[in-house]
Symmetry: C2
Subunit: 276 residues, 2 copies
């Protein structure tokens, strides 16, 4: 570790590359919400090449929970389409290592686990539309309350591909009834970040028994003038990878994302020359 540990507020004003440099050196291991404002943050799945085609098919068939924003070459730890110097072995503050379908450990570096058969798939993340909500005056409850967004298992079936399948995991955000249409329209503009909601209202329609008992994250209150709105969640692929019982796969730890150099809106001119 080449520098003293930094806090979240130390990093808020730094750009993506500088934040990654601190993370790479071991100087920051906490969540990335709010860091490198305006930059794309990514969920990660690091998987063996022999299941990568099926995993990409799975993501293509389930774009709401699994919007692909980057795919590495096999065995190559760099991801030049996402950022000039990204090294996927070290640039995420916290990783989860799964072995044979169970969480084996959390780590801050995976250099000694990396092999020339691995493929990294980066998926968009809800931070993108949450930032847009705040910019448009739609409050985001779990951010206001400094909590982790509540996440729920559902009975909504995913389109299977090879060994990958199961049910969708969703996030829930309470939205004032007068802003629900705006929330749909704003998030629909970010198909690379889960896109429009998959449902609103009664949690029972999704097979959720109690909104106050999320499967991951923290419960948040839904006020009388608010409607619970549900989006596809980036924990879905972790759940699906877990079920596939791969000998080894690696993901980010929830909330501890890869920060890319791309604008979170994936707008011009970045998209013109993706391989600069």
């Amino acid at each position: 570790m080449s520098q003293a540990a930094m806090t979240h507020s130390d990093l808020r004003q730094k750009d993506a590359r500088a934040v990654r440099a601190v993370i790479r050196s071991g100087g920051y291991t906490r969540h990335t919400a709010g860091l490198a404002a305006g930059k794309l943050q990514c969920n990660l799945a690091i998987i063996p090449e022999d299941v990568a085609l099926d995993f990409l098919r799975f993501c293509q068939r389930n774009p709401k929970p699994c919007p692909v924003v980057g795919v590495s070459d096999t065995g190559n730890p760099f991801m030049p389409t996402l950022g000039a110097d990204i090294d996927i072995r070290s640039d995420v503050p916290k990783y989860r290592v799964f072995r044979d379908g169970a969480l084996a450990e959390e780590r801050t570096d995976i250099a000694d686990l990396w092999t020339d058969r691995m493929v990294t798939v980066a998926l968009g993340c809800s931070f993108t539309f949450e930032n847009a909500f705040i910019a448009e005056g739609i409050p985001v409850r779990h951010i206001e309350q400094d909590k982790t967004v509540p996440m729920y298992r559902t009975h909504v079936p995913l389109a299977p591909a090879g060994i990958f399948g199961g049910e969708m995991v969703v996030t829930m955000r309470p939205i004032h009834r007068d802003r629900v249409a705006d929330a749909y329209a704003i998030s629909a503009a970010f198909p690379h970040a889960h896109g429009a909601p998959i449902a609103q209202g009664d949690p029972a329609q999704l097979g959720i028994a109690d909104l106050q008992k999320p499967d991951w994250g923290d419960p948040v209150p839904v006020r009388e003038d608010e409607i619970p709105v549900y989006w596809g969640c980036g924990v879905t692929p972790q759940n699906v990878l877990l079920k596939a019982r791969l000998p080894l796969c690696i993901t980010h730890a929830p909330g501890h994302m890869l920060i890319a150099d791309l604008s979170e809106r994936l707008d011009e001119p970045t998209r013109l020359t993706p391989y600069s």
Copy 2:
């Protein structure tokens, strides 16, 4: 051939499934523009499984020319995420067969070429945003003139993946200068159908020598009050496959698309249950 050949106008009022049934029976072998109004039409690339992961990486890195909307299971000629009864061996009016990097033949059925190692990749198509332009009162010159959209090789580099790479092919549509911003905004809403333009104005910036000499399709006039606007083109992947010199690959013939059951807007509720 179980029924007499049908004309384009015979099919205009039929739904996607009925149009596919006519095509499947050999009763229609012409272009699909304007058929099954409102339904997604797709470019196709049928490739060996051993290069499919690289091809999907290539498409992910070049979403403007190569927006993936469907991927088959290996060896499975059906594409249930695009339409309940789609049989990719027969449901396209005209195919192109490439062998060792050269066009070998055009056909109306590929059943005898299909193998259990093949993967079909379906890509969005510009018909989608052209329909939106017409609905919003932006004229589309090549449609008005009953021509094929002009297409051009450029010097814009594509992000490579494995054996796949090269330069982008673009389409050009002359847009009245007062509607260029609208054309950007409307097409940007369809990232699965090439999205926003990649450039406007001087063709030299893209390495195009003469707009009146397209590499494919027909020239169309650009009037004094119009600006030439350029979009990523679905011929790009054909060009890239050709360069890769695969022993065998199959595409649709330009303009002779696969018609899916999905809304061309990929809007709710179709996306909720992609595997019904």
